[in-house]
Symmetry: C2
Subunit: 187 residues, 2 copies
Amino acid sequence: MARNKQYKEEDVIQKAMNLFWRNGYEATSVRMLEKEMGINQFSIYSSFGSKHGVFVESIKAYKRELNTIRISLQNSNNGIVGIKQFFYDFLEFTKENEVRKGCLVCNAVSELATNAEPELMVELMKFTEEIKSLFIKNLKQEKNRTEEIIEKESNFLTTSLLGLSLGSRFQGESQLVDYIETIFKRI
Amino acid sequence: MARNKQYKEEDVIQKAMNLFWRNGYEATSVRMLEKEMGINQFSIYSSFGSKHGVFVESIKAYKRELNTIRISLQNSNNGIVGIKQFFYDFLEFTKENEVRKGCLVCNAVSELATNAEPELMVELMKFTEEIKSLFIKNLKQEKNRTEEIIEKESNFLTTSLLGLSLGSRFQGESQLVDYIETIFKRI
DNA sequence: AAACCACCTAAGCAATCGCTTAGTTTAATA
DNA sequence: TATTAAACTAAGCGATTGCTTAGGTGGTTT
């Protein structure tokens, strides 16, 4: 009955996500999104409603992409060794052309913080819970660990992963290795 | 020979810093700075040259303010116990009216990242080095530590402090306590 | 092949951005 | 007290912001 879209929303969001990842939310204009996504503003707004809408979808796309390394941990059944590998995978995941961009969700929370809209905030905050439950599952594969210890260590590991995201913006390769290795030294 | 300034640059920068801290760089407009600093745009530009200039001075003011807890660590001679106290002090320092704002320098690096101007970038990057040398000094007060171990542990602690800044945006009180307590079980 | 309608382009909307400038006020000097 | 120059106010600069709209285009359906 009418024309078909000349783009896949999935494809253009992927490109938008990368732009937000490199530049942050505020520093990315709709004109820049136009160019990067390869579609007109009209199409952007008819598909996603607003710049904010594009960002929300970008966050979701980011999480889906992150799922690839998440699933590899989930299937590994390697306990703490698997978690450590996840840290290294995460470090690799947040790198592009030797530039460390950090974690998109972490960057977003840093930037938007208090004045983010509720729907987005919920999506962002779920991130640490998802990571934590992943860690708990693997910690349970280890022997001699009470519930209480698992709780504390999973909290430690979760926040440590955030540290890795931020740390990768400041530190060089060897400092980051020291960081990860010390985290898993006596766990 | 002429009129005097009706404001102290030190005072208005303090206010600008708090605004940047709450809102981030991009989301803070010069009009907002006008209101918060209580002076006209003309005065802002004649004192600091540009919005960017106000931000650079805000970062410097932030570091000076942070020096209060830094000096208390430097004078404590308490080794690792002192470092741990610094972590708790830092957590308190980055809080305002029960709202955790994180570390201004960390937030700035997260937001600006790759496209920050060199002068600012240098100022931001020095941050971790300053913290690290502080930690090294205290680690040397402990027995049985080789240079190599001190290097690794100071890298671990430095990045962990970054994790605390970012973690405070995501996590609740008890998770943050678990985090800090577990850090100091590692070293 | 004709009708239909969603999709596209491109121009333009008001509002706000960072920054400047013209003109007035103020106080330290001669 | 007259002069002088820095600091002030307020209006406005061009550019860009997020978003909208009018009108031409093209693929699907009958």
